[in-house]
């Protein structure tokens, strides 16, 4: 739990938050994923190995996954990024809900998900990163009014790189097999 809390405290520190939010790449591809990671680390530590009161409501991990998916979609909207930069209340909502509604449910639900659901999530993540990357790269207008045009293009490029990296990583694991799985097969 400590690493998650430390990461969260670092991310919400005003100088760090301002620095990350100074660019679209920092805001969308660094701050928001790290906030989710912090929430996930804390949730894993809190729920680790013990049955939860909510476990019955999250059988198979699908309800938790749905919560995370909807929360991610909301915080990926250009309008929400602008609103977080312009209003302290929306910024506070982001710093609270991304760990609680994205990271925590995803971390708790992921081990419960059947392999086909995990594959579905990966495939969607990669395809959406690629499509969003393309949209941000070629959009003739600024989608976020708070950021300059070149930052939008940089985000597009970064999202395309992320999509390719995820595709190679996930595809590599799917074809070659995870290192752990390979070892256990050999044994």
């Amino acid at each position: 739990m400590i690493p998650g809390l430390l990461l969260y405290m670092m991310l919400v520190a005003p100088p760090v938050a301002a620095w990350l939010e100074g660019s679209m790449v920092g805001h969308m591809l660094v701050q928001i994923p790290l906030l989710a990671l912090a929430g996930g680390l804390v949730a894993r530590a809190v729920s680790g190995g013990r049955g939860s009161v909510l476990a019955g409501f999250n059988a198979g991990g699908i309800p938790g996954l749905l919560v995370a998916v909807f929360a991610v979609i909301a915080w990926m909207l250009p309008r929400m990024l602008d609103a977080a930069l312009r209003g302290a209340l929306v910024e506070a909502a982001k710093l609270t809900t991304v760990p609680l509604l994205v990271g925590a449910p995803l971390a708790v639900s992921w081990p419960l998900l059947p392999p086909v659901a995990r594959g579905f999530v990966w495939a969607n993540l990669i395809s959406h990163a690629a499509v969003l990357g393309w949209v941000y790269s070629v959009a003739p207008n600024r989608l976020c009014t708070s950021y300059l045009f070149d930052q939008q293009a940089a985000l597009g490029t970064a999202l395309l790189i992320v999509a390719i990296a995820l595709l190679l990583g996930w595809g590599g694991v799917a074809i070659v097999g995870a290192p752990q799985a390979a070892r256990s097969t050999q044994n």
Binding site: P63, I73, A74, R79, C144, S146, F149
Partner: protein, 200 residues
């Protein structure tokens, strides 16, 4: 056990859809600019009564234009990019208005958001280059730079320094209705729609 999870999944979808509907104004907009345009179209907004100074050094208040629809654009004369498109659209609008029965009622107003560099002399030169005599199309700056921020906010114009002495800004054509309210925001290439709504 499974039944609870099914209900939880349905609740997650319902709550998530409700949140997304709320933050996209009913799944209609995803950007701040889109939301602003929709809000203005549905509910016209009052505007601050800023004092402007046009290319002929005539001072006038925004409220003095009431009674006639006004199409407005924001620009700065040294803009190397989008302002050129806006200005050429305004020239086309001027030509189109002449051919419409109610077109002569419409005024055009270009407002510079760079009052430091866009002096009246600069605006006069700019108007002369465009062949604008200032009768229908007035090219202006705020008389008091302190009123600029309020004016830009009221129109939803976001101006950011580009780091090399210029500005990045959202480009649009704005419609002020005859009652002096902001009643429409249109893409620069949707000038026909702006004209139609101004003359309807």
């Amino acid at each position: 056990m499974r039944l609870r999870a099914i209900f939880a999944a349905i609740a997650a979808v319902a709550a998530g859809s409700a949140v997304l509907a709320a933050v996209t104004d009913g799944f209609r907009v995803a950007t701040t600019e889109g939301a602003w345009r929709l809000a203005v179209a549905e509910r016209p907004r009052p505007l601050p009564d800023a004092t402007l100074l046009d290319q002929s050094d005539r001072a006038f208040r925004l409220s003095a234009l009431r009674g006639r629809p006004v199409l407005v654009e924001f620009f700065y004369t040294s803009c190397p990019a989008i302002c050129g498109l806006l200005v050429s659209q305004f020239q086309a609008v001027l030509d189109a208005l002449v051919e419409r029965p109610r077109g002569r009622e419409v005024l055009l107003l270009s407002v510079s958001f760079d009052p430091d560099r866009d002096t009246v002399t600069e605006l006069a030169d700019y108007a002369a280059r465009l062949g604008d005599d200032g009768r229908i199309w007035r090219i202006a700056r705020v008389n008091n730079p302190g009123e600029l921020r309020g004016l830009l906010d009221a129109f939803g114009v976001v101006v950011l320094p580009d780091g090399v002495g210029g500005f990045v800004h959202n480009a649009a054509i704005y419609l002020i209705d005859a009652e002096g309210r902001l009643a429409g925001v249109y893409d620069p290439d949707a000038a026909e729609r702006a004209i139609a709504e101004a003359t309807e």
